[in-house]
Amino acid sequence: MNVENVEVKDLHFNYGKVKALDGVNLKLPGGAIGLLGPNGAGKSTLIKILLGFLTPDKGEGLVLGYDIKKQQSSIRRYVGYMPESDCLIPGMDAVSFTSYLGELSGMPRQEAMKRAHEVLFYVGLEESRYRNLETYSSGMKQRLKLAQAIVHDPKIIFLDEPTSGLDPRGRIEILDLIMDISSKKDIQVLISSHILSDIESVCSYVVILTKGELASQGKISDLKQINYSLYEIKAFENVERFIDGLRNIGCKVEQTTDKLIKVYLPPEKNPQDIISIAVEEKTQIRHFVKSQTSLEDIFAEVVGVD
């Protein structure tokens, strides 16, 4: 397998006057990759382009070595896609549905049927595989969508909000399946999700988009170490002035409901600067801890969500 299955250069795409993607450059390694970004960041547009549904206005790219502008059909033969919204074909049972979509991907009929049974067992739908799809619960539909995405044994799987609408147990089970799939070294899983904890539990690499631009990308562990110093502070007296002072030196400050102050310290500053401002503003520091940065913190820092 190539180290980079997905590579795009200077990708631009506009919906009329609205810039959806503005010069995105990406090289994605194998394994599970999280695609993050607020609404309107360009995640869906990027997936549409990678799947070959949309042709970029400018830029170029390769998915599995196939040109995203010219070889869209070939790309779709070797990728699996699990859409966010519920989708089914009424009147079918899970076996027919899964084998049908396997056939459409290019599997021989008998093989598709055999493989459909296997993947339905794999995703835990063995008991209900002959039930009409319209009677399925949300959790079962989610599993079914995963089954149809992997039936033809794709080399890349795009998962769009794979855990949406699931109860906590169902969520854990789907994430376990995704982790198991992505543990195969020759399958790449690209997950677009708003649930950051899901991404953090499954992915080792993230791509963060904001306003159509690439805000950050890299291994989660590297991003945590290199870019951010997060401190949790509990302060007393002149808190507002203290927070303003921190903001004036370039820190991003977030205050939680239990009055915990989260301070994202820029790399050029050091913790002593926080203490100096507290002294200046005559603020008592009662709790000062260097926090373990989570993906949520990275996302908040990069995207600028307070």
């Binding site: 089914l88 074909i89 459409l104 290019g106 021989p108 995703v123």
Partner: protein
Amino acid sequence: MPIKEKGYAHWDGKLKKMKFPWKPITRYGIKLTFKKKFFKFSFFLTLVPALIYLAGIYASEKIEDFSFLTRDTDTLSFLKVDPKYFSSYFTNEFLLFMIVLLMVFCGAGLISDDLKYNSLQLYFSRPIKKKDYFMGKAAVIAFFIFIVTLIPGIMFIIMKLIFSGSFRFLASFPWLFFSVIGYSIFITTFFAFYTLFISSINKNRRYVGIFIFGLYFFSEIIFGIFFGIFKSKYFALLSLKINLQQVGAGFFGQKPAYDIPWILSFFIIIMICILAAIVLKRKIRSVEVVK
């Protein structure tokens, strides 16, 4: 050990580039149609005219055996098997009515269900092009219409030859075989575009069914109203049914029921197909494939 505990397993086959990617769409479309309530009954009813006309072909060869039914031999002249016989089968009102009914059962949900249940994104995330998708859906319609047009038409010719025991019939009307094929393709093409077009404009299969039925009969009513007021035969061109019948008469070399060149009706039907194709192309393109 259960499969899910063994972990993800690769498939050891190889994905092929399909020659006819629309074939699975058609096969499953036909399979699902047969699962629909009342479909089998209405499909059987659609075959009734074919059975009657087939019996007529048999009777035409044994006309003396049936002469006891009437004193006047002219009464049995309708049993004469000639292009008019074929024309009357292909353009009879009951058959056209039953084809419209078949479209309600087999065609109404073809695209509207995909729109309602967001299945388009599943199709188009596969190596399926828009033309393959339409082809697959249209072939479902073609399958059912051919069973009540093309197959009986060819059967009539074969049975006539078998019952008569000579090739005289074929020698007298060598073009009839091509007329059967031509008109079957024509009527199938029209109903495929007509049904898929209406199926693509609404997500509710029931409304689509009503539209398919309604539009067909509405065109007939409109013709009736205008014809009643202005007494002009050209208003017959407003009726889908009459246009199909006019073209049918043309294909089988018969005098059309309305004294208007059948080629006009032919062009009207072709125009409807072209318009339907344009709308279909736009409607399916405008669907968000990835939300």
